[in-house]
Amino acid sequence: MADPTPAAPRPAPAAEKKVAAPTGPPDPPPPDDLARPAYLEPLTAALPGAIVHTSYWVGDWTLITTSEHWVAVLTWLRDDPRAAFDACADLTAVDWPAREQRFDIVITLYATTRRERVRVKIRVADQQAAPTACGVWPSANWLEREVFDMYGIPFAGHPDLRRLLMPDEWQGHPQRKDYPLEGPGELVLEAPDDWIAMPELRRGVEIE
């Protein structure tokens, strides 16, 4: 921390070429002649209305669902023997600020016995709590903490929702597209007054 009197927040660097901001991946529907995975039909039968969209691209299947159905879909995918996705390989988020529900939460599942992957996605708006997948796979715990840390998406029902990588007193969520890339960083972003208060705050923290 250097200069305690920050200059006025710099204007965001102008985009070089003005193109329409992307609003999400194309998620192309699968070609009609492609065999659907075996679990797809039972899933739509078991949870009607849960799967909003199905997509296939460069070999990856993607299911798009809604946050109300998130836990139910994941639980079904884990428990049904036709799916048997017993491992949560990855959970992350993508920020599409031009969209109303700006965040995609993306989970990548893996079925150890069938050696198959599937991606499941939901969309959530800013400040909207997403349901947690911790109850389905304990491994989602840290991954959701990282998403919370980097995007500021709160996970409802998460047992231990703290920042994972950034310091606890950090302001802002760096992985968002509108996070400034230059400037004094952590403090200017949301509450400029904190910039002055922070040194005192730091002094008060009992560091062992």
């Binding site: 491992a87 990855d90 050696r115 840290w142 990588l165």
Partner: protein, 376 residues
């Protein structure tokens, strides 16, 4: 962290001790911080604090073009940079549906397996040193040095190789390199025997590793363990076999499995993996095809809009890349790394609960983390 528990009920209550292990500690393998709650020396609970090495690699990639990102991947798992390179370039190739020449695939496989050997050697050395066998550490580093020499001869760097490009490799092998790799492959199994002489049947080693940090296959899968740590629990999951990438489907190798899922099994699994890696390298050298090492790649790497996830078997476990392209810019819209070290580290509290402080040290070693990859 505060340490005082004001809830001491009886005058003769022994205090629970809360200690910080790390971020500056000799055996946390970097800047890992563990907050241990101890009853005597027994671990009651543990909180893992990470992020001390967070450099925002995922954010940085959004400002770099696809070729420059190879360089960033080097800095994640810095003891296995070539594996990180491989995972990244393959994901971009998948996104762009690029064809990679067979020779490049073979050389990539050789590099990845040499990297696995080097990474496992570092792991074995540090793991043994954590348990007190300092000599093994120096033996392992001696052999790792030979691998680094091979890499240096191939790409000029010893740690951060930047050794792969989207669509192929930056350069072909130099003359005589293959012979040197062969010589190394002949040498290594004997050296592994040496390490085993010092450790495998050593009573102290057995007592320190057997039944320490036992985890069942189902639990290991659920908590997100991958790689050797998962296979030691008897789960047969190896991306090289399950979803063959590079040239792995051309080679014959075994995937070692453990039975009990304890620290000793994780040790034996990794040792066998090193021997299998030697086999793979030898087969790849035997069948090394001729031809170019760079495929037809557009001058500007600009993948079509879309997203994909691709995983490889890094020495630590499943290393996945999730890349989203918006089809407009020369940088990824979003690049997510699925770091095996991070996901494996998540199992540490579960493994360590109820064990002694000394076991925590052994367990940090046994899950094989690199903080550069945990924090990115």
């Amino acid at each position: 962290m505060t340490t005082n528990r004001d809830t001491a009920t009886s005058a003769f209550d022994t205090d629970e001790l809360v200690i910080n292990m790390g971020p500056q500690h000799p055996s946390t393998h970097g800047v890992l911080r563990l907050v241990l709650r101890l009853d005597g020396e027994r671990v009651i609970d543990m909180d893992v604090v990470i992020g001390y090495l967070h450099r925002g690699v995922e954010k940085l990639t959004e400002q770099r073009d696809y070729t420059q990102i190879v360089l960033l991947t080097d800095r994640m798992d810095y003891v296995a940079a070539a594996s990180n390179n491989l995972g990244y370039v393959e994901t971009v190739e998948k996104l762009m549906s690029l064809e990679v020449p067979k020779r490049a695939q073979y050389i990539r496989t050789v590099l990845a397996e040499l990297q696995r050997i080097a990474s496992h050697l570092v792991w074995l050395g540090t793991h043994a040193m954590d348990i007190g066998a300092v000599t093994v550490f120096l033996y392992c580093l001696r052999e790792r040095e030979l691998v680094l020499d091979l890499f240096e001869e191939y790409c000029g760097a010893r740690l951060t190789y930047n050794a792969m490009r989207v669509g192929g490799l930056p350069m072909d092998l130099s003359t005589g390199w293959e012979a040197k790799v062969r010589a190394f492959c002949d040498l290594l199994p004997g050296k592994i025997d040496d390490y085993e002489t010092l450790l495998t049947n050593n009573r102290i080693w057995l007592e320190r590793t057997k039944d320490v940090g036992v985890i069942s296959g189902a639990d290991a899968t659920a908590i997100g363990l991958t790689g050797p740590a998962l296979r030691a629990s008897g789960v047969r999951r190896d991306v090289r076999k399950d979803e063959p990438y590079a040239a792995y489907k051309d080679f014959d190798f075994e995937v070692p499995l453990g039975t009990r899922g304890d620290t000793y099994d994780r040790y034996t699994v990794r040792l066998i993996e090193m021997r299998q890696s030697v086999r793979i390298v030898q087969q790849a050298l035997d069948g090394m095809p001729d031809g170019p090492v760079m495929g037809k790649v557009p001058r500007l790497i600009k993948p079509p809009a879309g997203e994909t996830y691709h995983a490889i078997e890094s020495p630590k476990g499943e290393l996945g890349y999730f890349i989203v392209s918006d089809g407009q810019s020369l940088s990824p819209y979003r690049l997510r790394v699925r770091p095996p070290s991070l996901c494996n580290l998540q199992a540490l509290p579960q493994l360590a609960r109820g064990h002694l402080v000394a076991d925590v040290v052994a367990l940090i070693g046994t899950i094989d983390i690199v903080l550069g990859e945990v924090d990115r």
